[in-house]
């Protein structure tokens, strides 16, 4: 009886030990967390390149597709005779220099899917900060080309607006609690829409979240005064069927929008429908 029990114990322990040793013997890859970059206002291009390479190989998760050259274009090596990404990025889109193209390809990847590949690239602004994205651009430029990203591109740093050539409000997010204009004061209503995070709850032109009322035809059923009041005092009139999410929309836009921005947004929405 004792021997039987010992044999069973040996079989059990031997089996789990084998699996544990095997799993420990293969290459150990950890999924890293993208760390905030604090590069300072006088960060050099070389520092950005180094930070970008670290992200590319690690937390950015880029090598899962771009390192293999089967799921996505190979960026590290030659791609169909066009060279590394730094050598070919300046000619990918007419009228766009390498830096602009790479930045837009990272935050709006669906617009730049290379022919022959599946549209699987995620919007990197959902996982990386603006500074991290600029660091990535610098690294990619440096592969077969010259990195041109500077501290000036990053602008206000981690929490600031996107750089001069990047899309405004790439980082998305909730509107500021008060003070300071959204989208760096831009009066482009779509900049304001994105920077204010409106699309997280409202649908416009077929895109956006399902939480609040769709605004595709808001102009056909509501006048400008109603729209303005709804932006400044969202709790004043809760749309029918959305009572349970009343109070979700922040009542802080009066403090975060300039008068010109508010009117630009009202104009745009009143024109819907």
């Amino acid at each position: 009886m004792l021997m039987t029990n010992l044999k069973i114990l040996a079989v059990v322990l031997g089996t789990v030990t084998l699996y544990t040793v095997l799993a420990s013997a293969i290459p150990q890859v950890e999924s890293e967390v993208p760390q905030e970059l604090d590069l300072g206002a006088d960060v050099s291009t070389e520092e950005l390149v180094a930070a970008g390479e670290e992200l590319y190989q690690g937390a950015g998760g880029c090598v899962a597709c771009h390192g293999l050259g089967t799921r996505a274009p190979n960026l590290l090596a030659d791609e169909a005779g066009t060279g590394q990404i730094g050598a070919r990025c300046g000619t990918r889109e007419p009228g766009k220099d390498c830096k602009t193209y790479l930045h837009e390809a990272l935050v709006q990847p669906m617009e730049y899917i290379v022919e022959g590949y599946e549209p699987i690239m995620p919007d990197m602004s959902r996982t990386l900060s603006p500074t991290q994205i600029w660091a990535m651009v610098a690294y990619l430029e440096s592969l077969g080309g010259t990195a041109t990203v500077t501290a000036a591109d990053i602008g206000g740093g981690e929490g600031g607006a996107a750089g001069a050539e990047g899309p405004a409000g790439a980082g998305g997010g909730a509107p500021p609690a008060g003070g300071g204009a959204l989208a760096a004061g831009s009066t482009d209503p779509m900049d304001i829409w994105r920077a204010g995070g409106c699309g997280a709850c409202h649908q416009l032109d077929g895109e956006g979240g399902p939480i609040g009322p769709a605004l595709d035809d808001i102009g056909a059923t509501r006048d400008r005064d109603y729209i303005r009041r709804a932006i400044l005092d969202p709790g004043a009139d809760i749309a029918e069927g959305y009572e349970q999410v009343g109070g979700v929309m922040p009542p802080t836009f009066g403090g975060s929008l300039t008068a010109a921005q508010l009117e630009a947004l009202v104009d745009m929405l009143a024109g819907e429908g």
Binding site: S24, I26, L68, L76
Partner: protein, 604 residues
């Protein structure tokens, strides 16, 4: 004595259930939950191992026990039905013995559920608050169903002898079905919580307040149903394997021939259930994987080609062990079947196919690699293994392994039978032809896949799977028809099984348990540093998803704790089993164990 011990277990289960209910009910109250998550405190801690490991271990152990108590009722009800409608009392006894194991493990499931709840609310209060806000209603329904499941189980087990004949037997069987319905519903609700963490609805972002998320939309998320289906099958596999190991232990420690015969038969049934369900489990796995890709390509790539790519090599090795151990058990078992010796020469060829299949399946291909590793390989793939490790080859290997395992079962079934139907020779030829055609289809598409683009190649796996499934269904149908009235070459000599065969059952149970832990890590790990994918970021010190070596240590710890506890629980159950065994012995003498459930030949 029996009744007193039964009451003790019942009370233990009830206390565990009540603990879970109290925790669930109290924590489902958002005001309390908010109080548990005061501003500024997002994470708690746990001594020595840290918060993440504490939650990981408690969740994994809860899942292991839950899988057992959800899987076993499924085949207990089937066994009871065979006993009722087939007139073989020993199946009824077997079903009761299954249920007795279930009853004992039930309280452990509830206790680990309560531990998990406490761990979550203390260690991840911010996450807990978010989940409660969305799923509050479903928690209450879960509590209600858990009560119903608990008391249905008590009625089912304790009413077994009272409702054993006539109409009341049908009512009892109905209770078993009801037990499965409640248990499955409980699992579906819990699955909605964890699948929401993987695949929240489109449009829900980090800025979306939990109060704005519709509960039903959160429940019916993209991976909910695939996980439900995968878990139902996996629970059956797991339950069968644990029952097999239990029977193996009882076999090895048996003191009489009758006992040994009974547990030999029980081990065979457990193994048949586990391997039978395992054969179809990969199809459910493909469905889940496809839905993950459909939901989010990035998540799918992380799972299969990202930092988890090496995990699937380990998985292939484990499944290879399962196929080899399962077949080995059958081949050894054939030594106690008169007439099986005529099939012995085929064994070495089946072993060869299985070994080659495992090697091909476990060949690395699309592995995440650094720039230095890419340079060392001279490209994105290994110059030699890059050709061998593609999905065309792997799908071919897996399908041929499934066909081979099915052939082992078929030979086992046929071992002591000589069909007497006039079309027996034709039937056997058709069966052989089906195997041949299926193998050719699998091989053809496996080779052809090398010459077509990846998009087209992926579709070929459907043809391969269909060829195998159709063969299994048609061959079984022919075999059942052909076996009617078959002449027996002699009864299976239950109990005359070499001890090494029983150790194969232990390897199966340990491997299934370890595999379950590995797949739990895969499913949870693909969220990476998100508690809820792209909705709630993990900002704790444990946010980075660990490498496989570390995960393997945690999985091993979970497996050993689970096996230790289930062994203890079964030992407790053994203290009061003697009356059941006495019944079984009496039946064994009468029936002499004429054959397993897959064997329609009556006893001699």
């Amino acid at each position: 004595m029996k009744r007193r011990a039964g009451e003790w277990r019942g009370w233990a289960a009830l206390v565990g259930a009540l603990a879970l209910v109290v925790v669930g009910a109290v924590l489902a109250e958002p005001a309390w939950a908010q109080a548990a998550a005061p501003a500024g405190r997002e994470y708690g801690d746990f001594p020595v191992v840290g918060g993440r490991v504490a939650v990981w271990v408690s969740a994994q152990l809860h899942l292991m026990f839950a899988a057992f108590v959800l899987g076993v009722p499924m085949f207990a009800v089937v066994a009871e039905a065979i006993g009722m409608f087939g007139g073989e009392k020993r199946y009824d006894k077997l079903a009761k013995e299954f249920t007795r194991l279930l009853l004992i493990a039930y309280s452990a499931t509830a206790i680990w559920g309560a531990i998990l709840s406490f761990a979550l609310v203390i260690i991840y209060p911010r996450f807990w608050t978010h989940m409660v806000e969305i799923f509050e209603v479903s928690v209450w329904i879960y509590v209600g169903l858990f009560f119903l499941e608990s008391f249905t189980l008590y009625l089912y087990y304790y009413g077994w002898d009272r409702w054993s004949a006539g109409t009341s037997k049908y009512v009892h069987w109905g209770l078993g079905i009801l037990l499965n319905v409640f248990g499955t519903a409980v699992m579906f609700i819990a699955d909605s919580w964890l699948s929401y963490m993987m695949s929240p609805a489109e449009g829900v972002t980090v800025d979306t307040p939990a109060s704005a998320i519709d509960t039903w939309v959160a429940i019916t998320n993209a991976t909910w149903m695939p996980i439900n289906i995968h878990r139902i099958l996996a629970n059956v596999v797991f339950g069968g394997a644990i029952v097999g190991a239990y029977a193996a232990y009882r076999f090895l420690t048996a003191r009489t021939d009758e006992e040994r015969a009974h547990y030999d038969w029980m081990g065979y049934v457990g193994n048949s259930i586990a391997i039978g369900a395992l054969i179809v489990l990969p199809f459910a796995g493909y469905y889940l994987g496809r839905e993950i890709y459909e939901y989010n390509q990035q998540m799918g790539i992380t799972m299969m080609g990202g930092f988890m790519s090496w995990l699937w090599i380990i998985q292939a090795f484990l499944i290879g062990v399962l196929f080899l151990a399962g077949n080995y058990y059958l081949w050894v078992g054939m030594q106690r079947i008169p007439g099986a010796e005529r099939f012995t020469p085929y064994t070495k060829w089946m072993l060869l196919v299985l070994v080659i299949g495992v090697i091909v399946w476990a060949t690395p291909h699309t592995m995440i690699a650094s720039r230095a590793e890419l340079a060392a390989m001279g490209g994105s793939h290994h110059p030699f293994l890059g050709v061998l490790g593609v999905m065309s080859a792997k799908n071919t290997a897996v399908n041929l392994m499934i066909l081979t395992t099915f052939l082992s079962f078929l030979l086992y079934r046929r071992a002591n039978k000589d069909p007497v139907v006039p079309w027996a020779r034709t039937g056997t030829m058709v069966q052989g032809l089906m195997f041949l055609v299926a193998s050719i289809v699998v091989l053809f598409y496996g080779i052809y896949g090398y010459y077509v683009p990846a998009v087209q190649r992926i579709g070929f796996s459907v043809y391969q799977v269909l060829a195998v499934l159709i063969t299994i269904v048609v061959v079984v149908a022919i075999d059942v028809a052909m076996g009617r009235g078959a002449q027996s070459r002699g009864a299976i000599r239950w109990g005359q099984m070499p001890p090494r065969s029983q150790y194969a059952l232990f390897v199966l149970a340990v491997t299934f348990t370890w595999l379950m832990g590995l797949m739990g890590f895969a499913r949870s790990g693909i969220r990476q540093h998100w508690h809820i994918w792209e909705v709630m970021r993990d900002t704790s010190e444990w946010a980075a998803t660990p490498a496989l070596g570390y995960a393997a240590q945690v999985i091993t710890a979970c497996v050993l704790i689970f096996l230790g506890l289930i062994g203890f629980i079964f030992w407790l159950g053994g203290l009061v089993e003697k009356p059941i065994i006495a019944d079984v012995r009496a039946d064994a003498k009468a029936a002499a164990y004429g054959g397993p459930d897959l064997d329609p030949v009556p006893a001699e």
